[in-house]
């Protein structure tokens, strides 16, 4: 299945750019990562079989943004731009602390797909069922991943205590 870049960008470019803007909060970086997302799509077009392009693109965009943020975190001058602080600002006060603590550790410990699941569920507010649909897993699979993630977070918190 050959991808028509123009057609895909026309149809899905705004979705992907908004996703990158939302996670990166930087127009130029978002634009750059959006292009990377479409390049990834070109290289993984076989994965388009049998699923909506928007779900795949959202997942690729989320992963790419997380990777970008992780590399940005290696530079001390970029620390203030850390994604999770912005993410926390967008959540309600009650969930703020736990979401920040949990997501902050995802970058260091968890598998890429688990990070995406965590962002979709904890940040975007998708239910477990909706998250499962987006990533192509069962609800129990998503729950298991999140439990594993929570366990790692607890381990890290215990180590720091």
């Amino acid at each position: 299945m050959a991808i028509d870049v123009e057609q895909y960008y026309r149809q899905y470019g705004p979705l992907v750019l908004r996703r990158c803007r939302y996670l990166l909060k930087n127009e130029e970086e978002a634009l750059d990562i959006m292009q990377e997302v479409f390049i990834k799509l070109l290289r993984n077009e076989d994965k388009l079989e049998g699923e909506h392009p928007s779900s795949l693109l959202v997942r690729i965009a989320t992963n790419e943004c997380l990777n970008h943020i992780r590399s940005r975190r290696r530079h001390p001058e970029d620390y203030d731009e850390e994604l999770l602080l912005r993410i926390a600002d967008a959540t309600d006060e009650e969930s703020r602390s736990s979401a920040r603590n949990m997501l902050d550790r995802i970058f260091g410990r968890e598998l890429e797909s688990t990070r995406t699941i965590a962002v979709l569920h904890l940040l975007d507010g998708l239910t477990l069922e909706e998250t499962a649909e987006q990533v192509g897993l069962s609800v129990s699979g998503v729950r298991k991943r999140l439990r594993s993630l929570a366990r790692h977070v607890k381990e890290l918190e215990d180590m720091q205590a």
Binding site: E6, R10, G13, L15, Q35, D92, D124, G125, E130, Q134
Partner: protein, 270 residues
């Protein structure tokens, strides 16, 4: 739709507009959009945002930039493999090629202002050698001596630079620089025209004037954008301006260019 606390996620609204939600969820959002002003406002915002994005970043140039970036990343990977796995062999090959060119009178050392690196003259006819890329060259003028600078070389405030190019296979070109303060300066063509300049093919071409470095910090990066066909300068300068806003990008990134254009750059460090 599963019960949730709080609002419907944007992702679902996006997928609703794209027609990629299952029927029951789509029906629920459609119903909500008719009864809930907040949902209908968010859907209207997404539609307006779609238009704004496609107007700001039009389809054809963006698709061309994506394709070009995809091709460049493949080329980069190949170059990396070549240089890392066979660096000594590559260096030997370059030496042999340069020696051969020198012995054949093709390569003349820089500094005489009109070297002839990409063409061979035989019986009054110029034959352009194939496979050589367009080149951007910068010389530091010191008295009567022109020191050729390479990417990564250090320069200082007050240095006088002479910019030159070799067209090779390209027919049209644009030269500009971005400094560490984010200023974009166009060097060639210098006539203020809207189209890229027609390139001369008889060897290395020095620009008409030299360039004195000011006190902009960190770096000065020169770009030579070339093409076989004439092209408009404004979109390239707009891309440069956009990149210049981020010093790290201006120092390291490639320009986002439409298809058919090539870029060559040279970074000088302060």
């Amino acid at each position: 739709m599963t019960q949730r606390n709080g609002k419907i996620p944007d992702i679902l609204l996006e997928q609703y507009l794209l027609g990629e939600l299952d029927k029951s969820k789509a029906a629920e959002i459609r119903s909500l959009s008719e009864s809930n002003p907040e949902i209908s406002a968010r859907l209207a915002f997404l539609k307006a945002s779609n238009e704004e994005i496609l107007e700001r970043y039009p389809v054809r140039p963006m698709a061309a930039a994506i394709r070009q970036k995809a091709e460049q990343s493949v080329v980069k990977k190949r170059s990396f493999n070549f240089s890392t796995l066979a660096a000594p062999a590559a260096a030997m090959l370059v030496l042999i090629v340069i020696s051969a060119l020198w012995a054949g009178g093709i390569f003349n050392p820089p500094g005489d202002g009109k070297t002839n690196m990409n063409s061979v003259k035989t019986d009054g006819e110029i034959i352009y050698t194939k496979g050589l890329e367009a080149q951007l060259k910068i010389y530091r003028k010191s008295g009567s001596v022109n020191e050729m600078l390479k990417s990564g070389d250090a320069v200082a405030v007050g240095d006088t630079l002479q910019v030159a190019y070799i067209a090779a296979q390209a027919n049209f070109g644009l030269i500009f620089s971005i400094d560490g303060r984010g200023a974009v300066t166009r060097h060639f063509p210098s006539d203020g025209g809207a189209q890229a300049a027609k390139l001369a093919h008889n060897g290395e071409q020095l620009l008409d004037y030299s360039y004195r470095l000011d006190d902009a910090p960190a770096f000065e990066r020169f770009f030579f954008v070339t093409s076989a066909q004439s092209f408009e300068i404004a979109p390239i300068m707009a891309a440069a301006q956009a990149m210049a806003g981020d010093p790290q990008a201006a120092r390291n990134n490639l320009l986002l260019l439409p298809g058919g254009l090539e870029q060559h750059d040279l970074l000088l460090v302060k």
